[in-house]
Symmetry: C2
């Protein structure tokens, strides 16, 4: 593991510098500034590199960050919104895990529906393992409208609307209980890709491990995105059956390779792990899944695939259309190419010409040529794998290999024709040059930079688009060890911001950001000015579930409590510093429908709403309406109040909810 | 509201400065450093103040922060651990809200017990509104061992062990459904104070609002802390009945005032809000609770109170001992002093001599003298409030009043004899000087600094102790408006770090930290070197619930699956990159007890464990053991895997859990 051996910039040097400025400069404020700054740097023991990094990242009060990073929160189940270069957490978006500060999943009926749709059969799921966020794209560039993300643990995908940075949809994959290789958007976001991971019987079914080769399957699911609705369209989506190799990360082709999807895989050995009943004839996964020489890069003809699905050449699995493996082969939808064993990622160059794969047990990155792949496909005459999938010859499709270091995982790109590969074992980021049409002197290692420690993914500014910005790279390091104060045995992760603006072998470490609320897996970085979020909801009475005004939302003058037998409807408005009505009196056992509207139209004038003891909390942004529904099973006196400090009389923004015993 | 009108430090000035250094300095590296730094500052438009702030806060990779701030997460229900001066989030501790990244509340039996203990009767509560964190103290100084925090929404307190920064205890207050004025520790942490907020019938009971004056009550609860056990001792604790004023923040006396507790209150008017049935004869809370001239500072003789409780002069309320208001009066446990109406805080000076109260509708801070309070009590001959509580005369007990600005809320102290008061309406922090024994020229306003915007609490380094450090102050601002990129209509809060090291009227804004995952209410700031957290658990097989080794924890060699009828016990160990056993095969309907031990002893070698579709996720730190228990109601094939990226073969750290249908 690399560690920074930072030479402390000496106090003497700073004193000298300050003296120089003082002696030679005028007695104006100029030299005073320099002396004061130099004294601070000296006192804090900052090196020249530290000073430069401080100045490159410090973002003064009121200055807006140039980039916004959307990082998965890993097994927090959330998405983190981070400003760059300040590396400050601007929002943690509730996605698969309820989060009460934003009132997500604590009574709001919209969220109840969302979580119900994301259940695995009867099993409610209140967390996820978010892995790969994907920004919506137009023409291969991020358009700033939507974000998608998957839940590896439970095989789910979610849609986030970037007008209000809220989750609008959770879908449970009907084919597979888990996933990994999603989400990835096609260049116009017509499709959002969810690839699989650990092979299981399809449709969450049971089959013994003895029947692994026949009854276990991999999958890739193609979710159709309906941009007008802002939702993945379940009814227009479908899955593809794959051999029971463990599919991993996918990427969508772009420009020259648009219309194709690439996924890699591991465990084509089809190891089923150590069998406690037969230890002599089985081996653990880390050995069994690494036994062979190669795994298979999956090359999928998306255009042909969607045509086959549209033609109805599918079967229903758990009520969901799936193209069977037989049809896949018959219709020439899928090709394999050998790849160095057990890779993590496949990443497509900005122009779509190359597919970069790193086998994590091989010190090279392997670069496939889309042109060569097409030629090989056209030439025909393939061998096949044991399931009959055509197998392209390695030498026919590989353009180059570059030795980058130990444990290469993932690759990102910049605007200078460089690629950046994370090296898990070396704890490094390698910068290497792409060949033509990117650089004349390509396919060679340019330099490396230490990271701290155990890097997984990495992300460059606009790095997954047809026109990366370069400038910044973030290393998503899994271990932090000695980098921060350690808050007990669970250490934070470490995002390291790296300056990649200067060409050549050198890169500069700018900032260490501890991540103490999740284990981010991957990130997307977008120019902040491409995002156009609401400051307040467009109209008072806005339902974020439909993104339109609810004509029945409570408004000033329509507040009150209406009883219909045992059904009670409360219509309430909120404004600084008052609930109307301020008293709600009902009977034990009543069924309550409580509608609320925050009638504020000022930025940041959010109100919260909680009923103690009822596990309810809402966050009502300016203009927002929401509904909660519950049975008043507990009698007593419950003091509802505003949970968001809204005004000088915030503590007085309260009321009494009386539930009289029967 | 104040806004920074920052003059942009001109590019020309920097160029001049660089030239000066270049022309006058040698051709050594010295001037190069200056030129490069100056160029960066110029390019980024940083002013002199910005540069200084950047250098004062930038914390290079591997440098440990000097202070650690524990901030409540507000209605996130959590606690945030933040390094200072870097203002980086090091951990979000799961407290009242389940959090899957740290495996908190997703199957671990220890946490199931914790949440069960925190339920309100039959109602499970999965969030909280954390308000006031309190560090444990020894001799009035933070000792770095424990942290306590309350849940305002549901009237609960929690205990966090700072060896592993994990929540060990949640207690539901048996008297009151909600609280506010907690937690506050006495100087040796013998007692942890939980004050009330909105008056309700005691024991979560029902009574109509017409009976408010007779049947509604305030409360303060005294939780006995058992330091050896690391838990609040429910059986040794008790409550005190108070009039149905809305008690607010409390503070414990120290040094000269040790043995006394101070709480303030609002709504001594006993407004019950707008009655929809009788709008002519009622008024909303913000008017009704602000109608009178004064509220009452509650002055409690803690020593006498604990003696009365120990003597058994209590009644049982919901099975919990409570000193009735009659006994409180009879035993001279409580005195009132008028305070400017509707205050937020009462804060005791480091030496314990003064109690500072701010009525938020009065531009002054009001300073009470403990000595004068004692004299007034000794003099006797009081008036009483309508419940018979002795009422000290304002002029007898007040030492001084200082006009500080509009909307004063809370006060903190430094090591220079200054006090700092947050001004909500002005969006300022006021620095004012204390009188003797602190400063000769005391009781006057020194200066103010703009904050952005709507400050609630504020916190200084070691500010609640008998020996504050000064140096830094954090403004906990509720609104951020134009300070950051706004991620939709829900804006982050804004923590502003302020340099208070230099005496006099000026203070320097150093850093804006957006808080995008909760609304912190209050914070405690401790010197980092006072904390001694574990790096790994002391022994393999450590149970964080008992903070000791579990002799039955799975260890290498004891792994396996044991069946006893329909009860299945799984004993599993985890190590990079392997689960043992790697296959678990059972039948639908079996009751499963799954014991796991992470046998790692290396720092940061955490493993996660999830079973897809079963809503289970654990985070097992090095050495940790945990147990999950569930009915295998869903048949199928579930691929458990390590959710914490642990090693190069992390993806291979997986196994098959087969549940065969019956």
């Amino acid at each position: 593991m690399g560690r920074v051996h930072r030479s402390i910039f000496s106090a003497a040097l700073f004193t000298a510098l300050a003296l120089v400025a003082g002696a030679c400069g005028s007695s104006s404020d100029d030299s005073v500034i320099s002396e004061s700054s130099a004294a601070i740097a000296t006192e804090r023991g900052l090196s020249e590199a530290d000073i430069n990094a401080a100045l490159k990242t410090y973002t003064p009060s009121g200055q807006i960050d140039e980039y916004i990073m959307f990082a998965s929160g890993g097994h927090s189940g959330q998405v983190f919104v981070i400003g760059m270069p300040s590396m400050r957490l601007i929002k943690e978006i509730g996605v698969f895990t309820p989060e009460p500060w934003q009132g997500y999943g604590y009574g709001d009926e919209n969220h109840e529906d969302l979580f119900a749709a994301g259940a695995a059969g009867d099993e409610e799921l209140t967390w996820g393992d978010t892995h790969h966020p994907a920004l919506s794209e137009t023409g291969g560039d991020y358009d700033g409208e939507y974000l998608f993300i998957n839940d590896k643990a439970n095989g789910r995908v979610a849609t986030i609307d970037l007008r209000d940075f809220e989750t609008k949809q959770i879908i449970k994959n009907p084919i597979s209980i888990n996933d990994h290789g999603g989400t990835f958007a096609t260049p116009d976001t017509e499709w959002v890709i969810e690839g699989g991971q650990y092979a299981t019987p399809l449709a969450w079914d049971y089959a013994p491990l003895d029947d692994y080769e026949t009854d276990y399957r991999g999958m890739i699911t193609f979710w159709k995105f309906d941009r007008a609705a802002g939702r993945l369209d379940y009814d227009a989506s479908f899955a593809m059956e794959l051999p029971p190799y463990w599919q991993d990360v996918c990427d969508a082709g772009k420009l020259v390779s648009e219309g194709w999807i690439f996924c890699n895989s591991f465990n084509v050995e089809m190891s089923t792990g150590m069998d406690p009943a037969d230890p002599e004839n089985s081996e653990p996964f880390e050995a069994g899944a690494s036994a062979g020489e190669n795994d298979y890069l999956h090359i999928i003809n998306l255009e042909a695939t969607t045509a086959v699905a549209a033609a109805g050449k599918t079967v229903e699995v758990n009520g969901f259309p799936m193209i069977t493996l037989d049809t896949v082969i018959e219709e020439n939808l899928l090709y394999f190419a050998p790849e160095p064993k057990s890779p993590h990622g496949v990443d497509i160059t900005p122009g779509g010409e190359y597919m970069v794969v790193s086998g994590k047990l091989d010190p090279h990155v392997t670069i496939y040529s889309f042109e060569k792949i097409q030629k090989a496909i056209a030439a025909g005459g393939f061998e096949t794998d044991q399931y009959g999938v055509p197998l392209l010859a390695f030498d026919d499709v590989v353009e180059a290999q570059v030795e980058v270091g130990l444990g290469p995982l993932h690759t990102q790109f910049d605007d200078q024709g460089y690629a950046y590969t994370s090296l898990f074992l070396d704890s490094d980021v390698a910068r290497w040059s792409l060949g033509g049409p990117y650089r004349e002197d390509g396919w060679k290692l340019e330099g490396t930079i230490d990271v701290h420690y155990n890097i997984g993914h990495l992300a460059t500014a606009e790095g997954d688009t047809v026109s990366p910005d370069g400038k910044y790279l973030v290393a998503l390091n899994k271990w932090s060890l000695d980098r921060f104060f350690h808050p007990g045995p669970l250490y934070p992760q470490n995002f390291q911001l790296i300056d990649i603006d200067e060409p050549g072998p050198e890169m500069q470490l700018l900032y260490d950001m501890p991540i103490g609320n999740g284990e981010p897996h991957y990130a997307q970085i977008i120019k902040a000015d491409k995002l156009n979020p609401y400051t307040v909801y467009p109209e008072v009475g806005w339902d974020p579930g439909t993104m339109s005004v609810d004509p029945d939302a409570p408004q000033v003058g329509t507040e009150g409590v209406i009883r219909d037998g045992d059904n009670v409807t409360v219509n309430m408005t909120l404004v600084r510093s008052h609930f109307t009505p301020e008293r709600v009196e009902i009977f034990e056992g009543d069924h309550v429908t409580w509608n609320l509207t925050n009638i504020e139209t000022s930025e940041d004038a959010t109100h919260g709403f909680t009923i103690p003891g009822y596990n309810i909390n809402l966050s009502l942004e300016p203009g927002e309406t929401a509904t909660i529904e519950f049975d008043a099973d507990n009698s007593g006196v419950f003091t509802f109040y505003c949970t968001e400090f809204c005004s000088a009389l915030h503590l007085e923004m309260a009321g009494y909810f009386l539930v009289e015993p029967k």
